[in-house]
Symmetry: C2
Subunit: 351 residues, 2 copies
């Protein structure tokens, strides 16, 4: 309390009275600065995610497009060797392929169950519409292939700064249409994480509106359903989420770069503002400390209110997307197991 | 920032750097004091719950048993006329009855659907194991009867200080056994809110262990599954939840009074420490600002991991149990609608 350069930590004696007085009227909620402990009772692989420091990249804000390209290349160079090792350890093979004009990576587990042989998950990676181009975007598809035991095709959709909105959506539509030209859509699932979850929802709205084939089931991990600063957890989980940390960090810089002046309330960018009627059965996953908790909860609620089967999975203490990106963690196995069982209930085997 | 008697509000410029430095190492998460706005985009009946000031009773701590009895009487006298008016407005009739040796209130909607005619919800009210004795505990059963269109029997189980643990559990078991002596359990659901949600889980563990009939489906609203100070949201949502506000308030005083020296980790008090194998299909509901968010999420996760069908519903920005206690609010209609449809899928009509 004596260091003016640090957020004040309030002593507990007297705090109840101070807080009661500060919250005696209708309006915003005043909360005190404090240290929030790592909850007890988590297994070690789970606790390590909760106790982790802020991501060093959370407040990344390159000055110009070239600065963003430097970040993209640095990430790609860093994760390439890591992903190669993860695939080896998990028995995953990766093949670079094309879906129509769009590049993609096919991830296949060595122990593919017979029931999954003719089924496929069409996956849209995360990265705030800037990161994750090329192989660097295949982490979540790799883990879903390994722990969910499905074949997963990760789409290399266009990202900013070189290919801003609507390039990502156009790529997703083109790749999906190419895939459904040769696959029964009842054998296909759609998955997306974070920005890729928002893109998956935007893709679904487009398919529904155009009368195109829909997937048999959908998985949305911490979907970026609302790119505007709307949703309670952008405030309540600010500074608590150790991955995104704040809407004012990398997240909104990247989002604005991709939106390139388009209205963030356009359902093609923020699908929460669209109509969810007629969407396929959907499983949604998030963590209680996720800056996107409200994105996920609001999407779930809106799907249910539209009469769509929607199943919500929450993970204690987790920040943004941690359940989808951490090899070996029990939460990742649990998340992929839930997704896989959900797909099992809705996909059919090919004739 | 200049008033030393108020939690410091941090100016945003410079905050990112301060926060990054404070969260550079593994361990607890340091969050700054701040004002958290009421999220936009909620309907008026929802927003009024989020923006409400702290409950005046949150830090209630009577000095002795007589002090608690004064509080109980005051609450009963206050809510009696309110409940009578709510029943009239919602077309609910209430009949005082007995299930074996245990008092109960039967709440019946005027427009009972034919499919629900021979079905019944056995309900355990909230109140921290101290409040809610007599008619005062019938709010949530009344609203579930009205908006879910089920008959609901609200059990007047024993509460502290006069009837501490295990009186509540013994009453719940006795009432359930009396009911199942004359009703096919496949036509029965079990519901509970807050302390009543914890009690419902403890009842289920007992029924399972003793080989007694189980309900066909279960609804747990913000269940008090862990009476120890374990669970991330006891810290993350402290001072944010405007109903319970803090574990150190009324909540833990009441809990200790009821536990009366028994180990809070006993699954009969904190069922999260029990084995959930073989429990019936369960719907769970909570709000993102609920001090019991983790109680609910941990219970959901443990049910899923035990292979139990479990469905989680979250409400944006809501504090503890607000979705179950607010007549007329859209969130209450939505919550009761979800519970009712869940019961519809699992209960059978009587022969």
């Amino acid at each position: 309390m004596t260091d003016p350069e640090r957020p004040a930590m309030i002593d507990r004696p007297g705090l109840a009275a101070l807080q009661s007085e500060a919250n005696i009227a209708v309006g915003p909620r005043r909360v005190p600065g404090r240290d929030i402990p790592v909850p007890t009772g988590l297994d070690a692989s789970h606790a390590v995610l909760v106790e982790a420091p802020y991501s060093p990249a959370w407040n990344l804000a390159p000055a110009d497009d070239d600065g963003w390209r430097v970040v993209q290349r640095a990430m790609a160079e860093r994760v390439g060797p890591i992903l190669s090792r993860i695939r080896d350890e998990l028995g995953i093979t990766m093949i670079r392929t094309m879906l129509g004009r769009v590049g993609a990576y096919m991830l296949s587990p060595a122990d593919l169950p017979a029931a999954h042989r003719d089924q496929l998950v069409f996956f849209l990676h995360g990265g705030g519409y800037v990161l994750g181009a090329g192989e660097a975007g295949t982490t979540e598809a790799t883990l879903l292939a390994a722990y969910g035991r499905y074949r997963v095709v990760s789409i290399d959709y266009g990202v900013a700064p070189d290919r801003p909105h609507p390039a990502g959506l156009n790529d997703a539509v083109a790749a999906w249409c190419a895939l459904t030209a040769s696959h029964d859509p009842r054998t296909l699932a759609l998955g997306g994480l974070s920005a890729g979850g928002g893109l998956a929802l935007a893709l679904l709205l487009h398919l529904r509106d155009e009368g195109l084939p829909m997937p048999a089931a959908v998985s949305l991990g911490s979907p970026w359903a609302d790119m505007t600063r709307t949703g309670d957890s952008y405030a309540t989980n600010e500074w608590l989420d150790n991955v995104l940390v704040s809407y004012d960090g990398y997240l909104s810089h990247a989002g604005r770069l991709y939106a390139a002046g388009h209205d963030l309330r356009d359902p093609a960018l923020s699908p929460i503002y669209g109509d969810f009627a007629g969407l396929p059965p959907t499983i949604l996953l998030t963590g209680t400390r996720d800056l996107f908790l409200s994105n996920t909860v609001r999407t779930h609620r809106k799907l249910r209110d539209a009469g769509v089967e929607a199943d919500l999975q929450l993970f204690e203490g987790l920040s943004h997307a941690q359940f989808a990106l951490t090899p070996g963690a029990t939460v990742t196995r649990t998340a992929c197991g839930e997704i896989s069982r959900f797909f099992d209930r809705h996909l059919i085997a090919a004739d």
